[in-house]
Symmetry: C2
Subunit: 341 residues, 2 copies
DNA sequence: GTGAAAGCGCTAACAT
DNA sequence: ATGTTAGCGCTTTCAC
């Protein structure tokens, strides 16, 4: 009794075979609470659905209800492990909500694509985890009237943002360094146009001031959130004299590069230089040395993003996911050289 | 003249304002070659579309044409860097084809979801990069009559498969070891139920035989494709006496774990043990020591998968993407200890 | 060179 | 307790 026949089975087919009206089938499927129906009839409908192996057509439903049951998530790059965690969280939340998550790369050259996704109704709302979207593309997205929420950063023009406590992450790292006895503490900061980089830098400065070691401008070096840029930045940093004894790297990808560069330069970690990276990913434990990190709630931010999308429009709002921002101490940090002798 | 008005702009609105029939607008949009139309009229239609900021409704189009313009890709886990590369390739190919790619995790517990994606018409075809899908779920997917292509592995019941030359990858690694003078060559093989693991193991055995060092069963240890499993497998392997001097790890995630475990055991890489992993990912260069790998055409497999989906149904077919399977030599391999003294 | 008409498969307000 | 009806917005065959 397989039903691998031609031509899709439609709701009308089910209705005919179950000898009820199509609208009844529809209401049974959608669990319409206002539907009063004999248990027996409902059972007959359900049985017919199974028998015919009926699956509602998504396009028809979507057309009728003006809802696609899909949310979008735009990221800069699938190969950056940070975003994998965000995607995972967002996907889980969407799944629990009965929706699909459409994750995609925000190719810089084709912003119309994302406007189109919204305007065509393919997705009901969009999570923006990609930076550097052209301002007019963002405006066009907003013009569709659909909900847009930025994740991990603020984006000009977008009211709703899901953020982690980036300032606090820097503070945690600085306090760890200070606790170990470091004084010459450096920061490999992210790109100037990055909102997260700015917040982490602020946190760094503030924490340094509080600790009584006002940040030395020489010890703040810019880097992109990439491995290569992190390596280059560390090389530059190590030309400073006297050398720093500790460095907070604003991003784990950059930190991986920094570790490589340190090795090249025969700078021993943590003996000569302690390193803390912001963002904990599984891999950090398998680097050499295992990297001390400040864990950020990446998955939780993805979840919160989807929640904001499905929730009521609500007023302008910034949600800071505070939960588990904490130090994961591994082997890339130790007291400074002087102290140890 | 912004059009951020209520109620979506429809094709009918455009037709009315451009003073043509809706069907003409439709045919202009879709570039119907059989449409004969005055350049002037076409221009007026196009202008109106721009002016009204019209975007076709995806659901309506989908309902009418029975095509969703979306392909699905099922992977086991977003945080595994292998799949990031596959997704990227598939997404690029889909984008070039004007389609969307819906990548999702194949949660073991909800196979109906994926059947549903196909049966409901949300996706036109599905790429399966996830292993361990229940056989009946696969059958149900096939029952929808839509195209399904497996990527990176064969799946029972699915005719079309996009594969890399896994056997050759193992052979390349073994030849590299042999060229360095190794004889006691081990293999951390993937899970028994994994098709890729099987092919890599075959390649390993065959290459060893060819080299005149028939594989020692003791030196073949099973591992999952995860970091922790790789670490455990290496620990087990190093209890063998005499110890192997080289090991081919079937997967890069497992190799990362193996490297960690080697450090724990004070097994120096490459001095005491040479390591080659299958799969090259950017990170391999930043491990310690930088990991020698056999590059597999992951992105290209993703692309080929989408191509197979959009292409004609075609006969049962297995596409082996041969292109750039090659050794990337870094610092985790060296001649065996004996030779170096 | 352009228009008319039918219908894809579903839902929801309104009958009965 | 169930049926009727009227589209959602688009494409496409056929007619003029």
């Amino acid at each position: 009794m397989t039903t691998t026949k031609r031509s899709r089975v439609t709701l009308a087919d089910v209705a005919r075979q179950a000898r009820v009206d199509p609208s009844v089938v529809s209401r049974v499927i959608n669990g319409d609470s206002r539907l009063v129906i004999k248990a027996e009839t409902r059972e007959r409908v359900l049985a017919t659905i199974r028998e015919l192996n009926y699956h509602p057509n998504a396009a028809a439903r979507s057309l009728r209800t003006a809802q696609s049951g899909t949310f979008g998530l735009l990221i800069p790059d699938f190969t950056n492990p940070i975003y994998a965690e965000i995607i995972k969280g967002a996907e889980q939340e969407a799944t629990e909500h009965g929706s699909l998550l459409l994750a995609g790369t925000a190719f810089d050259d084709r912003p119309e694509r994302y406007v189109e996704m919204l305007a065509s109704g393919r997705v009901e709302g969009l999570l923006l985890a990609a930076n550097r979207l052209p301002t007019d593309a963002v405006q066009a997205m907003l013009g569709t009237g659909r909900s847009i929420v930025s994740v991990n950063q603020r984006i000009r023009g977008i009211e709703h943002a899901i953020l982690a406590d980036d300032e606090r992450a820097s503070k945690i790292a600085v306090q760890h360094f200070v606790g170990l006895g470091h004084e010459r503490i450096a920061h490999l900061r992210g790109p100037a146009d990055s909102d997260t980089a700015r917040r982490r830098l602020n946190g760094f400065r503030r924490a340094m001031r509080t600790a009584g070691f006002p940040a030395d401008q020489d010890l703040i070096v810019g880097t992109d959130y990439t491995t290569d840029a992190g390596a280059a930045a560390l090389r530059e940093l190590m030309t400073r004299r006297p050398r720093p004894t500790a460095v907070l790297v604003a991003n784990v990808a950059a930190a991986v590069g920094a570790l490589s560069a340190a090795r090249e330069l025969d700078v021993r970690v943590p003996d000569d230089l302690s390193v803390v990276a912001i963002h904990d990913i599984p891999l950090a434990a398998n680097l050499w040395p295992p990297l001390t990190t400040v864990r950020m709630p990446l998955g939780e931010m993805g979840r919160a993003g989807v929640r904001a999308l499905v929730g009521d429009p609500g007023p302008a709002e910034v949600v800071v996911v505070r939960d588990p921002t904490e130090l994961i101490e591994r082997e890339s940090t130790a007291p400074p050289p002087r102290r140890r002798r």
